[in-house]
Symmetry: C2
Subunit: 163 residues, 2 copies
DNA sequence: ACCAAATGGTTTGAAGCAAAACTAGTTGCG
DNA sequence: CGCAACTAGTTTTGCTTCAAACCATTTGGT
């Protein structure tokens, strides 16, 4: 940790650093985790910009997509695939079931769990949401350019190696 | 949006997809935003693993580092630099001030704002936290390898171009 | 100099999330 | 078998965050 730029300036005689241009980020500048958070945040806000009109709640799209591609998936597998805690999935599924977008059926071999499927309404809703999401993906794709595969591979490596 | 793998399996006759191995991610697999969220999440949890013993609240480290490197910084500039809403910074600063880690002084030229500085206690605390954070950074650096600069550059581009 | 618009900061309200505690069901090992 | 350890899912609790409403101050245009 290096020294501050002006450690003895007790009474704020200098300019109060209101302009963001000469900001010093120190060790944060080379911290992957810090930039990960900033980028994820920017991406999330842009996603909401694209889907703001539709009533897409943040968690719904990934959950609907995963059920669509994996009919019969269980909540716990769903939570691991979407990177959220199982307790986070519960209220999402409750809303999706209430709105008739998702249907569940018992699993004979394990009465603790249940299998999830999209209803026709759910498929329709997903198709709508996918259009909004595609706009966001296109925007991101344009930014990362041809290094997209490499970027995703690096991100996946972070996920798998950090346990 | 393509078809589900097994659309007519209404009664969960197939295996309930309890194993994560044959999971199909569909369009999510190539969505940068999705992997960004997963990676940020994994990084955050790893960071907490490293700093779990110390009482490092998630927002504190970035805030302390930014004040250290930019003595006299104002809350609003701090919020923009750390990528959080200004209303999120308020309670963090309240705690830091209460614990005597941060000190503030009036800015003559703008009575709405104030300048922030670390106290000696704050400098000491930051030095401690920096050790935990460095362990996390090292872990991440090992994962991303020599492509670190390229990765950070891509992440920064996402932040700046997404507004 | 005045007044509208913009800015810095705080407060309040609501959403998302994870950890922990709990229930119910399953698995494994003696 | 029987019981301990584990797993699936829900509930509860607390934290972090943003957005919107709000107040004080500053800025800019006329």
């Amino acid at each position: 940790m290096d020294k501050p730029a002006d450690a003895k300036d007790d009474t704020a005689l200098r300019s109060p650093l209101g302009t963001d241009e000469q900001l010093e980020f120190g060790s944060l500048a080379s911290a992957v985790g810090f930039h990960l958070r900033l980028a994820q945040n920017a991406s999330f806000k842009a996603f909401k910009r694209h889907t703001g009109e539709t009533d897409l709640r943040p968690g719904w799209y990934a959950v609907l997509t995963l059920i669509h591609h994996n009919p019969g998936i269980t909540p716990i597998t769903l939570s691991r695939a979407s990177g959220r805690d199982k307790s986070t999935i519960t209220p999402v599924l409750r809303d999706l079931l209430r709105d008739g977008l998702v249907r569940r059926s018992a699993i004979p071999s394990d009465r603790r769990s249940y299998a999830l499927f999209l209803t026709p309404d759910g498929e329709e809703k997903l198709a709508m949401l996918a259009k909004s999401a595609a706009a966001h993906d296109t925007e991101l794709d344009a930014i990362v350019g041809e290094r997209k595969d490499e970027l995703i591979q690096a991100l996946r490596r972070i996920v798998t190696l950090l346990d």
